[in-house]
Symmetry: C2
Subunit: 422 residues, 2 copies
């Protein structure tokens, strides 16, 4: 290792150290940074100068340095310059979120669309358009968008940028990275993993939990001590194919009685509509903020800017549940029981501190949450002094796209030198 390489490596490490402390603790004086990092004040001042120049941190007004009695200026992470894009291809919608370095959401774009009915190339082109427009708009706001991550409902090989198999989209071996035209670099990642990270960075703030991402498929992401657990190949958290009943209904995975057959979106929506398929309009609650009217028709390209990405099916199910429809209530009861059975296996294996129900389980939580909790209590209560609480995600369907943007932010904070050099 040459002297120059050593110096660059040390500078990169120290830049990350300083930015990491500022990001974690809020705002800090240079003197406090020197104390915390063990670096000299001269070194800290030089590093802070570089981070300010790159637009990553900003100085705040002069404050009193309590300890020494000298005036000090604090630095904090800047939300005005660098930003990241989070993208999601869901079965029923496309989503784009632009997030700045302070983790404030600066732009939300969601397009309700039936991605199963379209060719992968067309879906990817549509996402490219939506994302490019959002990046353009962010640039107009003065933001420099430095990277993006794309959430996909299926196992992903990040290194090749290829979607191996997203059965709910009907995609196999789609070379996503090479098809997607974007003005910023993109990495792809599994939706359930990103939704868990979204919950970590934008949701409850709990450091240890299992986030359940209820969609057409059911994925989960385990966060332990603030870090995502990925397993040996990055495929951990396939909760949807945990066995509820070994001889249950056949699953598209080749198994039988998987959780998805009891609690997946399609089973819930179909079962809930038993004998009531034509009566949707009558039972819809006009005051429902998650009403399908807000999200546009499935297959339509209506742009929605809110957090409400549930498709008509789930919105109708919620309306029906509110109206006390027995078939809908029974479907939720059964789904909640199955979730409780599968989650009791997951808790025995993975030992999370809490369960956070997200995706479609967020709007369905009033009809699911208690059944899940009581099933867990019955199966786990005798062995464990405490059974993990069952919580609802505040982010719902937005979690994955936020987690995707958040992952870019994390990378910047972990290695700001890469940005300074570019």
């Amino acid at each position: 290792m040459t002297q120059a390489v050593r110096h660059d490596a040390m500078r990169a490490r120290n830049l990350a150290l300083v930015l990491g402390e500022v990001s974690a603790r809020g705002s800090l004086t240079r003197a406090a940074l020197a104390e915390i990092t063990g670096l000299t004040k001269t070194t800290v001042s030089k590093l802070v100068g570089d981070l300010i120049e790159a637009g990553l941190v900003v100085e705040t007004g002069a404050v009193r340095d309590g300890e020494r009695g000298r005036p000090g200026v604090e630095v904090r992470v800047s939300g005005d310059h660098v930003a990241a894009v989070g993208l999601e291809i869901n079965v029923r919608y496309l989503a784009v979120r632009v997030v700045d370095l302070t983790r404030s959401v600066r732009l939300r774009r969601t397009q309700a669309v039936d991605n199963r009915a379209a060719r992968p190339e067309d879906v990817i082109a549509r996402l490219g358009d939506l994302a490019t427009a959002a990046v353009d708009e962010a640039v107009e706001k003065g933001l420099r968008v430095v990277g993006s991550v794309l959430a996909i409902p299926g196992p992903v090989n990040g290194s090749t940028g290829t979607v191996q198999n997203a059965p709910n989209l009907g995609w196999r071996h789609v070379p996503l990275s090479s098809l997607l035209r974007l003005p910023v670099p993109v990495r792809i990642e599994n939706e359930a993993n990103l939704a868990a990270l979204g919950e970590l960075w934008f949701g409850s703030g709990l450091p240890d939990f299992l986030h359940v991402s209820g969609e057409i498929g059911i994925g989960a992401g385990l966060v332990v001590n603030g870090r995502l657990f990925r397993g040996a190949h990055g495929y951990a958290g396939e909760l949807g194919h945990v066995v509820v009943a070994p001889d249950g209904p056949p699953c598209r995975c080749g198994g039988r009685g998987c959780l998805e057959q009891y609690a997946g979106q399609e089973t819930l929506v179909t079962a809930g509509a038993d004998g009531d398929a034509g009566a949707d309009g009558d039972t819809r609650d006009a005051g429902d903020t998650r009403d399908a009217g807000d999200t546009g028709d499935a297959g339509d390209r209506a742009e929605i800017t809110g957090n409400d990405t549930d498709d008509q099916g789930v919105a109708r199910l919620v309306s029906r549940l509110r109206a006390g429809d027995p078939a809908a209530l029974a479907a939720c009861e059964r789904a909640g029981w199955a979730l409780g059975v599968a989650l009791s296996s997951a808790i025995n294996l993975m030992d999370p501190d809490a369960i956070v129900l997200g995706g479609i389980y967020a709007p369905l939580f009033p009809w699911l949450g208690d059944v899940v909790a009581s099933t867990l209590a019955a199966r786990l209560g005798q062995m464990r002094s405490t059974v993990p609480p069952v919580l609802v995600s505040r982010l719902g369907a937005e979690a994955a796209a936020l987690g995707a943007a958040g992952q870019v932010i994390e990378q910047i904070i972990a290695n700001p030198a890469a940005l300074l050099q570019s």
Copy 2:
């Protein structure tokens, strides 16, 4: 932080760095150590001197330093001075292993005994006697025994030294650390976690696997990239209570249809003996190295020194399987199927690279392995390009006690300064 404290912390870090490299790479010259660690040769020489003095490393004969052409002396980890004790309280036996710093097993003591029939105090006193005798013997061999870890079949609160609940022993809130009289410090830890670590350090050498510890209870330990996964509270890996069939036979945990009801030692042994309870002697295979005769009668204090800690029940089951007993074969078939169902949930959730069957599943592997593998293939093969292979542990019932000793060795290598100061 004072100058002296800083210096001590840096020295401790550098001692760990040097010993870690020597332990990981075999033997190294001081020059090579300086190159690898980035420390100066003077610093390395001083650190190596301290490690030699503490008996942690030793010099080997002079060798040619290829790069520089100067003669160099290599240092390697010493097996002659420092040692660790691994202990296990199993339902059916007590085990002690003494392991030196090179991870060679120096002493094996196993006592077949029915620990469920005895009071916790008596079991603990008996283990204390067995371990103290082993430590005395190790000291006679010139070894300095610096610590021990004790494997317990149940969740353990390591910080208080109390066994919260070991249902298979019938123990609740047993203040183990304060009852156990040992000439060395002891920490307690869950048996399944330690068995997985035993497999990592003394077994196949794979870096990513789920080790299944088949005993009266069924535990599992997940190793990811050479590290044990513990979950939020250290209770991860409770494979025995993963749901096989939600309405199956009631389990002592309060649930129903848990894996333990299909594949636990008692179910296997009992089901295998159906209608054949009196015929054990007739079907026993005299050539069986795992024959019960080697381990002494259960409840007896016969001391055995080998690796053979299976109790009579499993040995009889193996004999019966060899004789082609239909009830025994059916019990193994059913257990293998149930293991496959539960493991398919575990693979979906935890994504291990391989499954290693240990404990009683090691001797039963010829009758279980194929059923487990075919059940996994049927449930996972369609979704995954590769299904994790199902392997047999070479360590069997010895894994936990070895993992316990190995954990002490790891701690010494991670922080040799603690030993130098004492």
